[in-house]
Point group: none
Chain length 228, copies 4
DNA sequence: AATGAATGAGGATTCATTCAT
DNA sequence: GATGAATGAATCCTCATTCAT
């Protein structure tokens, strides 16, 4: 079993034996320059508005390609978009990978903050690409919902897997359901913190928020003598 | 300052001197029977698909009214939808209100599970209405996003307010930022558990999930001797 | 033959045996207060936008009357509008009449400036009413075009009649076609000077423009020795 | 500074370094035959009714093109209409240009009659096209009003410019404001004579009217000994 | 393979007038 | 006479996808 670890939208995603998303051959046959022009202008378009509001016209105008060519390179907008998502994931990995090598050497919840920071660094360095990815979570397109759910499941599975290790090692109480911690972390990342980024909250504050949450998760909110 | 406590989409909302959303006079002038026919068929439509996919045609066909009449009764689909949301909130209150009267008598996190269960009961008893409400969180309509953000803020504020009380009373550790707990609870409800309901997870399981999360939040995941 | 002299849109109109425009009996049966409310709010509406853009909705909302009532009081928007035009003409007459009594005592072109000034005074004193009238000339409604053409013809006829007198008295050269002078004066008023008023040109400047035109008409533009 | 002289709607227009109005590329890409079919049927439509009454349906039915194609070729009806106006101007130029070459050789007011006649010849030879242009002056469409005002200003400026020359040469009295003559001529053309054409007044009569007006403007209406 | 014109269904909204109470 | 709900035709504009060259 090979783990591909993906940091996606400020969340860790481990994709298990994930199938690469391959664009149509006609697109791959284009010269590198043209491929890049199409990809980079598509990123501009998909970062500027949520997927459901993007039209084929937007793409062909931005990429300066004929309408017919679009359908020769891609099946439809979903096809192109999934290609971009794939690309975003690859770029994100560069930021997250170094940290993942340290998995197992220390409690994962301690490592988690660093993963989160790496995700934030990625988001700042490639804001367009980050936004393309974040828009996945807004779409009501059935295919994309399916894809998103799969990514979500993978993300939660990966987090659960790593937390489980900590439980086995003895850091985490045995009666705790680590899947619930995974869910808390995943949703906080994907849903809430995306929004903070959108609002322009300074990095420092965002990181503090995560720290606060980690403290709650680690040590609980109740005083020891509370019989809640 | 009067608090209206609303339970909305499985989240507690304290609305401070909230202005009721009033439909157009032309709609209110209709006889009760017709009003109800329009409302109930609109609920069917808005529960079956997310807001952004609903068309005026869907409504007028379901309600059996002429196109022109729709615009006489409502400004547009947003107008009608907000009216339904308002209605859903009122119905939900019936389930939640009894529990809210007990606020202050015991730690709120203990009460929270009951509030959650009441929300679940509402969702089961009025599944259509529940879904109409849950669709608010999917829309990309600017007006609805604004409305949703306001509701979200109110929900988090309300939860924070109640948790703050517990902190003052001494249940919750003083250095904890209760707003973060509020966010965890709010998002788990609105985002995650909505999905469980959608998947058809049995009530019992859903409630167990909440219990597990509450335990983590209350007592933490780490063993006491862990230096995390 | 009785002459009704009307000063309309800064132009003199003599209406020959003009038939009064009478509103429907149902409207006249209303109490004075209600009649006035309807008229004054209709003036607001028709002064704010050109006739072709006014809807029945605009009127019933401004006048606070039921939709059905509108059709009881008036045949349609044209009916109401013509009623307002009639009213505007009556008000304008108050300003113009005193000057008309002096017709025949001096060359009409000398008197004309005073008539023009009186029209300007009216326009300033009853700006709403003035605008209601000026909008007649923009409409593409067949009925209103017909009405406008009739008014135009009457205006030109009246001016021609008065200028003819001057020609008979010996002021104006015998070979001159006074109808052309009438047309110049009429169109300058109705078309060009309306626009100056709309642009907010100061009264003083507008009057100077008329003076300049009158000098050209009276004495010509060419030097005596020009063989044009 | 280059002067382009345009004869537009029976009025002389000198357009100073005027930018051509260019239709969308998608329209220009059509084969000549199709372009012509669309243009000529649009001319039929826009000559038959004033701009404000023309619908997209009218155009697509007349031109036998699908609704969607219309929006591919033109932004909207204004876009198409301005294209036609541009076209009309070009055609009109053919009639007027020869006369403009003689400007400066004789008093402009003498030349004016010939310009007017040329305009009349154009109007008779291309009655549809002439009417398309004349409808510009009736529209209440904000964009077209702006366009019309610009054309009007250019027309009056051009006439003023040419009359000013005559004043410098010594034909026109120095104290005369030539702008007022320009306004008289412009409005008589655009507003009044358009109507004569519409009524079907014979050319001979129309030309006589202009002659009469020119005599008034040149030599004045008053007898020399009149102290007006 | 490249191109971009062709298509027409589909959605939102407005409005004058009638008609039932 | 007062009222205001009922009606549905009409209009603008968008868009994904196909197809002929």
């Amino acid at each position: 079993m090979i783990f591909f670890l993906h940091y996606y939208d400020t969340s860790v995603i481990i994709m298990l034996e994930r199938g690469e998303y391959v664009p149509k051959k006609t697109f791959l046959n284009l010269n590198r320059q043209k491929q890049e022009r199409i990809i980079s202008s598509s990123i501009s378009v998909f970062s500027a508005k949520p997927f459901d509001h993007v039209t084929v016209k937007d793409i062909v105008e931005a990429a300066q390609i004929p309408r017919g060519s679009f359908y020769q390179y891609f099946d439809d907008l979903v096809d192109l978009y999934l290609h971009l998502i794939e690309y975003a994931q690859r770029v994100k990995m560069v930021y997250v990978e170094p940290i993942l090598t340290r998995v197992g050497q220390e409690p994962f919840l301690n490592l988690y903050l660093e993963l989160f920071e790496a995700g934030l660094t990625f988001a700042k360095a490639h804001f367009d690409l980050y936004q393309v990815g974040s828009h996945l979570f807004l779409s009501q397109n059935p295919q994309l919902i399916k894809h998103m759910k799969a990514i979500e499941q993978q993300g939660i599975d990966a987090l659960s897997y790593l937390l489980k290790k900590d439980q086995e090692t003895g850091f985490i109480k045995t009666h705790i359901d680590v899947v619930m911690i995974a869910k808390i972390l995943y949703h906080l990342n994907v849903r809430d913190l995306i929004y903070e980024l959108y609002k322009g909250t300074p990095d420092q504050e965002i990181i503090q928020m995560v720290e606060k949450i980690l403290i709650i998760i680690k040590y609980g909110a109740y005083k020891e003598d509370t019989n809640g």
